[in-house]
């Protein structure tokens, strides 16, 4: 996949400083931040085989909404996110960003990856700073803003560390700062706290909620941890087991904000929601296990 042109038509030289929302975005009838319609993604494997990852996905996320996507391992949650980011072109269906069809990379989105995505040859500060370079921010200002963001994620004392000198949680904080400093209108997160230990996950979850609640962007959070999903989200979407995974349920989470990830889990309302969602998620998890992890790839290709 090659780097594509700016999708939202602000034709001009690359490195145009303004990333401001375009004026067409009328506040009266605001279209969904991300809308996936009839999405179908099929991978062409080596040897001519095909693997249909997801099919018939309809999902709409409004501005200011935090939606979690849960599902069994290998159900294509990340695939969905990659399609919304423009990293992957769907085989069929549409991806619409604020009412405009997406072509190429989604320039209005920030992406937080599950794996380490920091440049290992740059210090924490430079990793965050470099995110402003495509926007044409002058160096001195970029430096100031990057330091500010690192302080906001609690890494004031670690600006000069290289990624390998930081813990897993600290690296995620840097990645979070790197993503948020660009002030993207849509946030996409692919099991970002997956590799972290339980306590660190809670701390990171609270940090995320804290940062998100300041300006409430549209946020799609992919996870396999249902508790994490409920604690964070306004809505939880359940996906079926792959191959050809689809959305099987969509739950609202009417818990009040601000929330504390650790404490909200103890509340009665939380348990009720959890019970409801788990009822539909369990079926899919069991299906996935029955198929045998990894085996479904082969079977899917054969069918």
């Amino acid at each position: 996949m090659e780097l594509q042109q700016r999708p939202h038509g602000d034709a001009g030289a690359t490195g145009v400083p303004s990333q401001a929302p375009s004026p067409q975005q009328a506040p009266l009838l605001q279209p969904a931040a991300v809308a996936l319609g009839g999405l179908d993604i099929t991978f062409h494997l080596e040897g001519g085989n095909r693997y249909q990852a997801v099919t018939g996905i309809d999902l709409s996320v409004s501005a200011g909404e935090l939606v979690s996507v849960v599902g069994p391992t290998g159900c294509g949650k990340s695939t969905l996110l990659n399609a919304a980011a423009g990293l992957l072109t769907p085989s069929a269906g549409t991806v619409t960003i604020f009412g405009k069809p997406l072509s190429g990379l989604n320039r209005r989105a920030g992406y937080l990856f599950q794996q380490d995505a920091l440049m290992p040859w740059k210090t924490a500060l430079d990793n965050v700073k470099v995110a402003l370079e495509p926007m044409g921010v002058p160096d001195a200002e970029a430096d100031k803003r990057a330091r500010d963001w690192l302080a906001r994620v609690g890494l004031r004392a670690f600006v000069d560390r290289y990624p390998h000198m930081l813990s897993g949680g600290q690296r995620k904080r840097v990645a979070l700062a790197q993503m948020l400093i660009r002030d993207p209108e849509i946030l996409l997160m692919d099991e970002p706290f997956g590799p972290l230990d339980a306590q660190t996950r809670q701390i990171m979850g609270n940090l995320l909620l804290d940062l998100w609640s300041k300006d409430r962007k549209a946020l799609i959070f992919v996870t396999h941890d249902l508790e994490e999903a409920i604690a964070l989200s306004d809505r939880v979407v359940v996906m079926s087991a792959g191959p050809a995974a689809g959305i099987v349920a969509d739950y609202k989470v009417p818990l009040p904000r601000p929330r504390d990830i650790a404490e909200i889990r103890l509340e009665k309302a939380f348990h009720e929601i959890h019970r409801d969602i788990w009822a539909s998620l369990r079926v899919e998890v069991q299906k996935a296990y029955a198929m045998g992890e990894g085996k479904e790839l082969v079977e899917g290709a054969a069918s």
Binding site: L3, L105, N106, G110, F113, Q115, M119, V130, P163
Partner: protein
């Protein structure tokens, strides 16, 4: 094992080896002393000759020539290796078309080219630079090629999502990654640049360390040969520790910082 003990043992190896050499060449245990000295010289003679050379001025002129050739071969070879490495890694067709030729050229023992280079570039430094170049180029080329191809897809996707254009991707992702791979082979490529220079001098020249050794050999001056080898060894160790220093500076961001060897 502690450091002192290790140093003592290392020194012991040298002392024992020199002692054996000394005994063999200065006593008549193994035949006529004059004959053994003709073939093997003596450690004291070699050390004395080396000392005399190192305190003189002539040897530094030769070292200067060899160093110039080494540096030129390294710089030009690296530059070409980086250029072609990038071009091939970013252009699959180019890489596919030239693949068999690159492999064939790399399989060729470069020493056989030395006489041709002498013919083309004369007996001055440029024929040695050319020989060193053919050695350095392939090492750097393969490493840069690998470095660009093996950029972590996540790091790349992330950089794209940050809105980087091709030029910025090059500057922040491909270039540092390729340099890492190149630096990890720094010892090898600098070493080969030196090999190219010395072998080239040895095969035909009028100056340089290789020339000095060859000159001593042609008059059966074994002391001169050994002394030349000793100076060469000191020279290589000096260059290698310089490279290690540079490497440590450049690769601070790398975990474990183990120095890479050939």
């Amino acid at each position: 094992m502690n450091r002192v003990k290790l140093l003592v043992l290392q020194a012991l190896v040298m002392v024992v080896a020199l002692a054996i050499w000394h005994v063999v060449t200065t006593t008549s245990l193994f035949g006529d002393v004059k004959t053994t000295q003709f073939f093997f010289s003596t450690p004291i003679d070699v050390l004395a000759r080396t000392w005399r050379q190192l305190t003189g001025t002539e040897i530094y002129w030769h070292l200067g020539i060899t160093l110039t050739e080494t540096v030129l071969a390294f710089v030009i070879g690296s530059a070409a290796g980086i250029l072609f490495g990038f071009a091939f890694a970013r252009n699959a067709l180019l890489a596919a078309v030239f693949d068999p030729y690159i492999k064939a050229a790399n399989a060729l023992p470069r020493v056989v080219l030395a006489p041709i280079f002498a013919l083309w570039f004369g007996l001055g430094i440029w024929s040695k630079v050319a020989l060193g170049f053919t050695l350095v180029f392939f090492i750097v080329f393969f490493n840069v090629y690998q470095g660009v191809r093996e950029v972590s897809p996540t790091v790349l996707a992330n950089a794209r999502m940050l809105g980087m254009n091709e030029r910025q991707l090059f500057k922040h992702v491909y270039w540092p990654s390729a340099l890492t791979w190149m630096f990890s082979s720094l010892h090898t490529s600098v070493g080969f640049a030196l090999v190219g220079a010395v072998v080239g001098e040895y095969l035909g020249s009028s100056a340089g360390l290789g020339y000095k050794i060859h000159e001593a050999e042609s008059v059966f001056d074994v002391t001169g040969v050994f002394s030349g080898m000793l100076i060469l060894a000191i020279f290589v160790i000096a260059i290698d520790s310089f490279v290690t220093m540079v490497e440590k500076r450049l690769l601070v961001w790398r975990p474990g910082q183990s120095s890479t060897t050939t």
